[in-house]
């Protein structure tokens, strides 16, 4: 039941709309099937499976709206669900930010967001993959902790204005931290794919194991401003706030227009069109990119298009709600489902070779906002921090706390490497000068 075909889903949605007496009605049906396995100390700690399917009905009378849901799909239940949404809508206050439902939309075709190999994953597959990861660490007398999570599902929409949408998605995510038995070395690697046939837990585990083994006996060096090479895991995270994620999350037009964003302009308005970053910084979204294929419509039914957010350092577009877009007279853009930062062809190893003195950062951690005015964040390095001299890694160094803004960081750009997929985005390693470390941490 959890995964319905396009025809099955639209049949249910048509039935829902046929029950409606509201001025406007929109129904959204979604289903998901997933499983996971978690290990620590080279043994499995937990494993589970889940599945769910749900229908949400939004009914509107004038500027009043109500939503109800159900997860049973017989005619009587569907009718009751619609009736309940209409009852709530009649009782709701009018919304001053009401926008009529969207009519038929043209969505991009050809997004490869679903792969059967991912949907075919079972508990044995998960046990085999995590088993291979643990075996590699056993053989090297290292200790691993890892998490493998897979899911596949669908989302379908239909409304009384003629909007119709359907798409299937699949995803597999893996992360692993490997530590030396004496607790003095630690390494990390992670990755995610739409297509599970590309996934190999042992490959990621080897990267983390190599980092762990080479990060023992870390030396303390003074905090201060350093040239750093930030690996993709240090720029985007699937478990934490991140510097580039925070930057992309701040491209909201309303916040900027209201004066409460680093994109707000003195005297009013926003800084769209201004060059705020190094000219080598270009970030765009594209739901058809095969490596980060994603849903081609947003939650409110707007099409996801290829959109340039930052081009050659200039802020090109801001996203907004439909209400704010209309009020401000700006393009009606939803926030992206994944983004791509353009880069070059160099690997992280190439960036290291071209560095006279610097610090390689595997991962940043516990990143939290300090000042929204300047987009200043604090956090720490973790799981593999190394000193570079004359193009070579010389020795591991103790972890640092940083206080830095991605705005400043992207103005201090020295070099950009080749982007890799991470948390549904394409992210290059970056070489940054004058990155601000404010204190040392003894944590390994």
């Amino acid at each position: 039941m959890a995964i319905l075909s396009k025809d099955e889903a639209q049949t249910i949605l048509k039935k829902v709309l046929s029950c409606s007496t509201a001025d406007e009605c929109e129904a959204t049906l979604s289903g998901n099937v997933g499983g996971n396995v978690r290990s620590a100390r080279n043994t499995i700690s937990t494993a589970g499976a889940s599945e769910n399917v749900a229908l949400a009905v939004q009914s509107r009378f004038g500027k009043r709206s109500g939503t109800a849901t159900c997860n049973e799909f017989d005619d009587a239940t569907l009718r009751r669900c619609v009736q309940r949404a209409e009852e709530i809508a009649r009782l709701a206050p009018e919304s001053p930010e009401y926008m009529p439902l969207l009519g038929p939309q043209q969505y991009l075709d050809g997004s490869r967001s679903f792969v059967p190999a991912t949907a075919a994953i079972d508990p044995d597959y998960r046990a085999r993959q995590i088993g291979a990861s643990m075996a590699l660490c056993d053989a090297r007398k290292l200790s691993s902790a890892a998490f493998l999570d897979d899911s596949h599902g669908f989302i379908a929409k239909r409304n009384s204005k003629g909007l119709e949408a359907y798409q299937q998605v699949s995803n597999i995510t893996f992360s692993v931290t490997v530590r030396t038995p004496d607790g003095t070395g630690s390494g990390y690697a992670s990755g995610d794919y739409v297509d599970a046939s590309k996934f190999d837990a042992a490959r990621f585990t080897k990267i983390a194991a190599d980092k762990a083994a080479s990060s023992v006996k870390a030396r303390a060096i003074e905090p201060g401003k350093y040239t750093v090479i930030l690996e993709p895991n240090a720029l985007v995270s699937n478990v934490d706030t991140s510097l580039l994620g925070a930057l992309m999350g701040s491209l909201d037009a309303r916040n900027a227009d209201e004066g409460r964003s680093f994109l707000s302009k003195k005297g009013g308005g926003n800084r769209k069109g201004e060059k705020l970053f190094d000219e080598r910084v270009t970030i765009y979204s594209d739901p058809l990119n095969p490596e980060i294929a994603n849903v081609t419509f947003s939650g409110d039914g707007r099409p996801q298009q290829r959109t340039t957010w930052i081009e050659k350092g200039v802020v090109k577009n801001l996203y907004s709600s439909r209400f704010w877009a209309q009020k401000a007279g700006i393009p009606d853009l939803p926030g992206p489902n994944g983004w791509i930062m353009e880069g070059g062809t160099q690997s992280t190893a190439d960036l290291i070779k071209g560095t006279a003195k610097g610090i390689l950062v595997t991962r940043l951690w516990y990143i939290r906002p300090v000042d929204p005015q300047t987009l200043l964040f604090t956090g720490l390095t973790r799981d593999g921090t190394f000193y570079i001299e004359n193009g070579q890694i010389k020795f591991p160094v103790k972890n640092f706390r940083f206080n830095e803004s991605p705005v400043i960081m992207l103005n201090n750009l020295e070099a950009i490497g080749k982007p890799v997929r991470l948390n549904g985005n394409l992210v290059p390693p970056l070489k940054i000068r004058d990155f601000t470390f404010t204190s040392l941490s003894d944590a390994v």
Binding site: A92, P123, E258, R260, P369, L376, L380, S439, A443
Partner: protein, 549 residues
């Protein structure tokens, strides 16, 4: 709802301690009236639970537990003069955990019939069997007595779900108006209401029915100086509580004034949202023209609404035994407070530091009668006179530290998720000698008083941390002199608690808390409170966070 959506919607960040998502709040929206309907009768739940337990045993499980959960949430979001959203959600289903040959398996379902629960139990068994192939450390479960059929309910006076939505909306809009009138340009406010109806049954012979309530009113007021482009915010000084709607009935007896010259008010078990919002509007505007701090060493006087977050990060998390052992190594990290570290009897802090773990404290959000493994809850010492004396544990960890029973720290955010070790309320005991915040400030020569929780970050072994706050005031020669901005303090956990000079007495004791403490993979949120009185720390490193972009 993902956490980023929540933050984007409300502009509220405080209390979202850690986690990037809010799965506990992502349940299916429903008609608000349905939240008043009673759940299934305990007789029905017992029959369903027995169907699952029997199926698990028949399939080969040596132990099984069943959690039949009904989670009811309602959140009201407003900004300025309008309602942004009212969301009522209900989630109902069953999670089944089994132990087969020393290996855990877990499965959940929203189809609550005897036949499907039996099938789900068999699925959990099959998952455990699949993982047995790579198991190396069989689970050792501490024995647990069965309690038979028992029940527990949060002691509330008025369920927030029974209060008409109109009344709640009017309260939030009145708070918004108070902040706007006092100088704020924008305000987002929210009221979170939670009811967890939990039925737990296990092969030990327990059938435990619990009705748990939590409430959190909060806001974020922002003032903007368009000319300079500067903006500053002040968040609510409320705490999430394990109380009913009575928390929102103001009471002068439950208010605590901050030190003279700070114009701050803290709240115990009754919160005056309108007064706090008015003060927040005024203070947000005042923050547009405060003096930037000079970095250096200061004696810090920390109010309970601020110190609770520091306790959470630097004591609560490092004393979780699963983290100490390495089970969180791939996510939130490990802990400096290892078994070897503790065996050396190393000081965690000064002799003034006495920290207690408990799940019994009235008004706290961690207050429950039984945990999610069917263990009756209790109180115990974590740190006594500066020495770590115990950890937080669940049933499969107790034997590792030579304990014969669990501390009752298992929790799952919903029936869909497997239970694991979560933090109980962790609180700093107040001082035994009479002392007010004013008297504490009098003894400080060069210091800063900090109220309210702000930015927070700590490393993966809980050594190096940095905290901000909502309001900062300079202390010179025993007096509050002026407000400050751009303040954050950095320290190391042991150095910081070693610098603790003592706390005000119990009359100043208040709770800090959150609904959104995150941990585990897949990540789950849990609710936790931290109590303390105003406390002094000497010689802490303060940095200036001002930058230009």
């Amino acid at each position: 709802m993902k956490r980023r959506d929540f933050v984007g919607l409300t502009g509220l960040a405080t209390g979202a301690l850690f986690l990037p998502s809010l799965p506990g709040f992502g349940h299916t929206p429903v008609d608000p009236a349905r939240l008043l309907e009673p759940g299934a009768d305990v007789i029905v739940k017992k029959r369903l639970a027995d169907a699952a337990l029997n199926a698990a045993k028949a399939a080969g499980a040596s132990y099984a537990d069943v959690r039949i959960g009904r989670s009811l949430n309602q959140y009201v979001f407003t900004r300025e003069k309008q309602v942004q959203n009212i969301v009522s959600t209900e989630s109902y289903g069953v999670g089944i955990r089994v132990l087969v040959g020393g290996c855990w398996g877990f499965a959940s379902t929203s189809v609550v019939t005897e036949a499907n629960l039996a099938a789900t139990a068999r699925e959990a068994v099959s998952i455990a069997k699949a993982n047995k192939l790579v198991l190396k450390e069989p689970v050792q479960l501490a024995p647990q007595q069965g309690y038979g059929e028992v029940s527990w309910k949060t002691p509330i006076q008025q369920s927030a779900f029974e209060v008409p939505i109109k009344q709640k909306v009017e309260l939030l809009l009145a708070a918004n108006a108070a902040a706007l009138d006092a100088g704020a340009n924008y305000i987002n406010s929210a009221l979170f209401q939670v009811n967890e109806q939990k039925y737990f049954a296990s092969t030990d012979g327990s059938y435990i029915d619990q009705d748990i309530h939590r409430l959190w009113p909060t806001f974020n007021a922002t003032a903007v100086d368009t000319k300079s482009g500067k903006f500053r915010s002040r968040e609510s000084l409320s705490a999430p509580v394990g109380l009913g709607y009575e928390y929102l009935t103001p009471s002068a007896a439950e208010q605590v004034r901050g030190p003279q010259g700070t114009d701050t008010v803290g709240y115990k078990l009754r919160y005056d949202m309108l007064a706090d919002a008015a003060l927040a509007g005024k203070q947000a505007k005042a923050k547009l023209s405060m003096k930037s701090v000079t970095p250096g060493k200061y004696d810090l006087v920390l109010d309970p609404g601020h110190l609770g977050l520091t306790i959470h990060e630097s004591v609560g998390h490092p004393t979780e035994l699963d983290r100490v052992l390495g089970y969180e190594a791939n996510f939130a990290g490990t802990s400096f407070a290892t078994l070897e570290w503790k065996a050396k009897n190393l000081p965690y802090g000064s002799k003034a530091v006495n920290i207690v773990a408990d799940k019994l404290q009235p008004g706290s959000v961690g207050n429950v009668g039984y945990d999610d493994e069917g263990v009756k809850t209790r109180e115990w010492d974590l740190i006594k006179e500066g020495k770590l004396v115990n950890y937080q544990k669940i049933r499969d960890q107790a034997h590792i530290v030579g304990q014969k029973e669990s501390d009752g720290c298992a929790y799952a955010q919903s029936w869909e998720d497997v239970q694991f070790q979560r933090m109980p309320n962790v609180s700093l005991r107040p001082g035994t000698a009479k002392m007010s915040p004013d008297e504490m400030v009098k003894g400080v020569d060069k210091g800063i008083y900090i109220a309210g929780a702000g930015s927070f970050s700590i490393d993966q072994q809980r050594f190096n941390f940095q905290f901000g706050g909502q309001l900062f005031f300079a202390i010179e020669k025993g007096k509050i002199t002026e407000p400050l901005e751009d303040v954050a303090y950095q320290s190391n956990t042991q150095e910081f608690w070693g610098a603790c000079q003592g706390s005000c007495d119990a009359s100043d004791y208040r709770l800090f808390g959150t609904f959104f403490d995150g941990k585990g993979q897949p990540a789950q949120v849990s609710s936790v409170s931290h109590g303390s009185a105003t406390t002094r720390f000497n010689g802490v490193n303060v940095i200036n966070t001002a930058r230009k972009v």
